[in-house]
Amino acid sequence: MKNFFQPGNLLKVKAVNYDHQASKMLIDMGFTPDTLISVKNSAPFGEPLIIKIRNYTLALRKNDLLALDVELVSH
């Protein structure tokens, strides 16, 4: 799978994989289908990623974000 989780990318959630251990947490934090997420930047060692969603900012690991099926909206 292509890695869309790169700083500067605007993404849209297509679906959430409910078998992934991070899925519940992601849903609670507002990562539901059709939501726009903007990858702002990454922490110094490349991880975690700083994500803006629903007008707030949080940090997540790539591994956890893989529970999301996303499509690229813009760079």
């Binding site: 609670d28 934090m29 539901t32 490349g46 991880e47 956890d64």
Partner: protein, 608 residues
């Protein structure tokens, strides 16, 4: 009658709690400040009502212990009213919990906090429409500027008089699976937001925060900035300005106060042993520690600034990659930073960690972080042995604590814990300018705590140390410390410390009493060298006890060996296991011994 404050982490529950009850609970600008419920009283219509502050939660189906406290409390105690506080700048995510609370059927009022920031951003929230959509009263407030509080009181009063009744509420997802209900709620939230919020643009505030983050979290700058901040904190704390304040206190205590007390006691013809107890026991015992009050106060002010500015979350995020190597996450860094203040709250804040393994491992590491009570020892010994490089030497000790914690984490994870990769989520609060009143209040609380400790634990411990020092094992009063009970006990233990360079009974005694409270390390060194609090004599006594290398080895050992008794009690409570507590203590002691051994012997090989 009972009211519960509930809401997302860092939405301002404790700020509102303090405002309503007049309490002074600790607040900070990062998620997870409050880890246990706190109770206070508010006065409504002349009657007193219990108000409960709870740890912040994102959902009523949470993972961490601290958040479960809130969920259990809401469901088991069935409060008469929930004040659901929302961070209005983060409307949609905060409303998620609101819907869940609303589904529980418990009467509630919504307090939209941080309305001042929302308005500054040019956003308008229609509280009327929101109230209609959810079927509960909504009031816009700002705990920071104290606006809207009157209105909130009015609504609480109307609830108490049963003038408001709440209808049941359903998100419309009765039949769907547990997971899908989350999607349903957010659908509903989106339509509510569309109805109630006008001109929701990218706020000015968050733009500023984003710009700051571009620098603070920059690939190349982040780590240097982190160490620069730490270094500034240490240079200020151990700087000459603060040092002069210490000298002033020392002069007032030893130059003016102690002689005055001695002559006063002599004038009223007090018995010899009472004069001894006061002038050779209590005054030097407590005084030697009080001298370091300026350093401790400055350290706490600076830490409060870190907490209130929003930097704490960023630091945790930066450390996430490092911590993931030990199966931990950046969240574990927060207890560690807290540990620079005091190990007790640091151990408790481990409750914010998502898994039991993570929590236990982090608890085992927090003792290695150098708490503020160990600071007098560093200041005293580095002031004597490393005058030129004092800041740097103290910094190296703090760094050593962190490095030892990291290596231990690696070791423990390989052998005991076998942590897998956990999920990590850390909300990033906007940067905020720390409020002076809050800084002073927070620092004053800590200083007060320190003074109370000096007047209780340290007082009692000083008297005991003095007694053990003034009597021989046959309970005969003696003026020769080498014949005292301490000398006997200390000499029995001292051989353990020979290989570390400080095998004297005085050092051994200090380490024993240091378990009562870390400040006692300094007090005891002062007491057992019979200097009566005289700084010049104390310096002389220290140079005869330690070589510079031995002094450094001693500080390394004192940094790592065992937490103080209050921390041990907290550890027992938080582990809820004697086995884990004893195991941790044994581990701490062994690590301290090995590290001090390496420091001393490598130092000797290098000819230091």
């Amino acid at each position: 009658m009972e009211i519960v404050l509930a809401g997302n982490p860092n939405s301002g529950k404790t700020s509102l709690f303090n405002l309503l009850t007049g309490s002074k609970q600790h607040v900070g600008n990062w998620p997870g400040v409050t880890v246990e419920k706190k109770e206070g009283k508010i006065t409504v219509d002349g009657g007193q009502i219990a108000l409960i502050d709870t740890p912040g939660i994102y959902t009523l189906d949470p993972d961490t212990i601290e958040q479960k406290v809130t969920r259990d409390y809401i469901f088991k105690s069935k409060p008469d009213l929930i004040i659901n506080i929302l961070d209005a700048t983060n409307f949609e995510r905060n409303l998620y919990l609101t819907l869940q609370l609303r589904e529980s059927g418990i009467p509630m009022v919504i307090a939209l906090n941080m309305m001042d920031e929302v308005e500054r951003d040019g956003t308008v929230i229609n509280t009327q429409a929101l109230s209609q959509a959810l079927g509960v009263p909504v009031v816009g407030i700002s705990a920071r500027t104290e606006s809207g509080i009157r209105e909130l009181y009015d609504i609480i009063g109307r609830f108490m008089r049963h003038e408001i009744t709440i209808q049941p509420f359903c998100t419309g997802c009765k039949d769907c699976t547990k997971c899908k209900s989350g999607e349903f709620r957010y659908h509903l939230i989106e339509s509510i937001a569309a109805n109630c919020i006008k001109t929701q643009e990218h706020g000015e505030q968050s733009n500023i925060s984003e710009k700051i983050d571009k620098i603070i979290l920059n690939k190349y700058l982040a780590i240097p900035i982190f160490f620069a901040i730490m270094f500034v904190i240490f240079s200020l704390t151990f700087g000459s300005l603060v040092g002069r304040l210490s000298d002033l206190i020392s002069y007032l205590l030893n130059g003016l106060f102690a002689p005055a007390v001695s002559s006063a006691l002599a004038a009223i013809g007090a018995q010899q042993w009472i004069v001894m107890l006061i002038s050779k026991g209590i005054i030097p015992g407590i005084g030697t520690v009080l001298i370091f009050l300026p350093q401790i106060s400055v350290l706490f002010i600076l830490m409060s600034i870190l907490e209130d500015s929003g930097y704490m979350s960023r630091a945790a995020i930066m450390m996430d990659k490092v911590f993931s190597a030990f199966g931990l996450s950046g969240s574990s860094f927060i207890p560690m930073i807290m540990g620079f203040g005091c190990t007790v709250p640091a151990l408790m804040s481990c409750r914010i960690l998502p898994s039991e393994k993570n929590r236990k491992l982090t608890m085992m590491l927090t003792g290695f972080v150098s708490c503020s009570a160990r600071l007098p020892l560093y200041t005293l010994l580095t002031g004597i042995f490393f005058k030129k490089y004092q800041g740097l030497v103290v910094f190296s000790l703090y760094l050593l604590g962190i490095v030892v914690a990291a290596v231990s984490a690696l070791l423990l994870n390989k052998t005991v814990f076998h942590n897998d990769n956990t999920t990590f989520v850390m909300e990033m609060p906007p940067y905020r300018l720390p409020k002076l009143r809050n800084l002073l209040l927070h620092t004053w609380e800590k200083v007060k705590g320190f003074l109370v400790k000096a007047g209780t634990t340290l007082l009692v411990a000083s008297i005991i140390v003095w007694a053990f020092q003034s009597f021989t094992p046959h309970f005969v009063l003696t003026t020769d410390p080498a014949a005292s009970i301490w000398a006997v006990i200390g000499k029995a233990i001292a051989p353990i410390f020979y290989p570390l360079g400080f095998g004297t009974w005085q050092a051994a005694t200090a380490l024993i009493t240091g378990i009562a409270a870390k400040e006692m390390l300094v007090s005891t060194l002062s007491l057992v060298s019979s200097t009566g609090g005289n700084i010049a004599l104390l310096h002389q006594a220290m140079t005869s006890l330690f070589t510079p290398l031995a002094a450094y080895s001693f500080m390394c050992f004192a940094l790592l060996y065992l937490p103080c008794i209050s921390a041990i009690v907290t550890m027992r409570k938080e582990f809820n296991s004697l086995k884990w507590t004893v195991g941790t203590l044994a581990f701490d002691f062994s690590v301290a011994w090995v590290v001090a051994f390496i420091v001393f012997n490598v130092g000797r090989l290098l000819g230091l």
